[in-house]
């Protein structure tokens, strides 16, 4: 097998505790067919997963979803995670967060909350125009700070909001954010379905970066801003998940264990379920986790490339989605024989007469429709 001889411990256990969510983000990273994985792990299953992850050496524990607040045992899980010695992180949109719930999280020992901005079109608009969403985030932000947590915000950036980036930063500052992550949408799952509407042009991106840099300087004393450049525009494959089966172990709502939250789409790879195997077996022995570890699985051009240790050939899901071959070089790489697909998408983002379909919003009904329609999870070019 091609796996490296020594497999270190995962640093992260990512607990995607539910796919349920009150929001309908057009860039949602949950699988398009999420509605078919409805049966969630029980509290006891999760408690066992937390223990096994800690024994395996994981130190960071992230609770995400869906919207994790929809699990009413969340405080129990956080409490156990903290007790076990994890640094506990909650990633939430804040929708439905109450004072009482936050008090329970505080008592459970929650270390850190990341408030994310979702529902791109509507929510960002509301936010920018100072209505409902701004008020909600402000309220939640105040409740978070009042309990001594830092205020950490994440906003997904794309074509429909990128020109407002200065305003977004300004508002984040008004909310008292100490840390702001501006993450350009990544084109998997729902974002891939909506790629033509979401992908900014090079020019938009360049301007946004310049504006962000000005704000970085201006706010250096009180806010740290991170701008994550999209790999399509950079033409540089990223070391996906910091290496397959290297840092992250994700457990999905139904108990499937994955090296990355989108890996489930890859055909021909089986991923174990925590109901059947221990995390130790999953991490060290399962085919799903070993398959793309290291560089042994590579073919040309990656196999002979000087950068192969640096980027590990980029993202496997992107290779599969765009090139139709999960073993191929990530097509964002200029050396990929499929790079044309990425250039064409970028080209299209600049075309003033581009044609786009209506946005597809993430919800269970759409998910079922798309699952029915996709005989195979068709690579979208």
């Amino acid at each position: 097998m091609n796996a490296p001889a020594k497999i270190g411990p995962p640093m992260w256990l990512l607990a995607e505790v539910t796919y349920r969510c009150p929001l309908h983000c057009v860039f949602c990273y949950n699988p398009v067919d999420f509605a078919k994985h409805e049966v969630e792990l029980s509290t006891d299953d999760w408690l066992r997963v937390l223990r096994e992850g800690r024994e395996l050496g994981a130190v960071q524990c992230g609770f995400s979803g869906g919207e994790p607040l929809l699990r009413d045992d969340l405080e129990i899980l956080i409490g156990e995670a903290r007790q076990l010695g994890y640094y506990t992180n909650l990633i939430t949109s804040g929708v439905g967060l109450t004072e009482a719930r936050l008090d329970a999280f505080k008592a459970a020992g929650l270390d850190h909350i990341q408030l994310s901005f979702q529902d791109s079109t509507k929510e960002i608009n509301d936010f920018l125009t100072h209505t409902r969403t701004f008020d909600l985030k402000q309220k939640v932000g105040e409740m978070i700070k009042a309990r001594g947590w830092p205020m950490v915000m994440n906003v997904v950036i794309h074509r429909l909001n990128i020109d407002h980036i200065g305003r977004i930063i300004e508002m984040a500052d008004a909310l008292g954010a100490e840390y702001l992550e501006l993450a350009n949408a990544q084109y998997y799952s729902w974002a891939l379905l909506n790629r033509d509407q979401l992908m900014p042009s090079r020019e938009q991106l360049r301007r946004a970066e310049a504006v962000t840099n000005e704000w970085k300087e201006k706010l250096a004393e009180r806010m740290r801003i991170l701008f994550v450049v999209p790999d399509y525009h950079e033409g540089k494959p990223k070391k996906c998940m910091n290496g397959w089966g290297n840092v992250f172990l994700t457990v999905t709502p139904d108990g499937t264990a994955l090296p990355c939250h989108t890996a489930r789409m890859l055909p021909g790879l089986s991923f174990p379920n925590v109901r059947d195997s221990s995390l130790r077996e999953i991490w060290h022995e399962s085919e799903g986790f070993n398959h793309y570890r290291g560089t042994g699985w590579m073919k040309k051009p990656c196999r002979d490339c000087d950068h192969k240790e640096e980027d590990l050939g980029g993202c496997r899901c992107q290779a599969y989605l765009l090139a139709g071959d999960a073993d191929a070089a990530d097509p964002v790489c200029p050396k990929s024989p499929h790079h044309e697909i990425v250039s064409a998408a970028l080209e299209n983002a600049t075309n003033p007469n581009r044609q786009t379909q209506p946005l597809i919003f993430r919800d269970p009904k759409e998910s079922r429709r798309l699952t029915r329609e996709a005989k195979t999870p068709s690579p979208t070019a």
Binding site: L56, G57, V59, G85, Y87, N89, H112
Partner: protein, 91 residues
């Protein structure tokens, strides 16, 4: 250097069996500490001031003249916001 160092906001210090070292945990990351870094940070409890930390380390390791090294580490840790130095009236 005068004052009482304590852990920066959001940092947690602990022994990690899987890494066999002390670590600092913070949102979304981890810093592995070498032995001396671990010994110094273990004493930055918000109670002891710099002089007490140095004295404590010198006693624990039957050494002397550690002040320079300890202050060097503390200055680096403060710059990285692992630690905050509280000066003035002691709590």
């Amino acid at each position: 250097m005068d004052g009482t160092p304590r852990l920066g906001h959001g940092f947690r210090f602990q022994w990690e069996p899987a890494q066999k070292c002390h670590v600092l945990l913070y949102p979304e990351g981890m810093i592995k500490l070498n032995q001396s870094g671990g010994e110094i940070l273990a004493r930055c409890d918000g109670q002891r001031d710099v002089a007490a930390i140095v004295a404590d380390l010198e006693a624990a390791f039957s050494a002397s003249g550690l002040r320079g090294d300890v202050e060097g580490f503390l200055a680096m840790a403060i710059e990285k916001r692992w630690l905050k130095l509280e000066t003035g009236a002691k709590a």
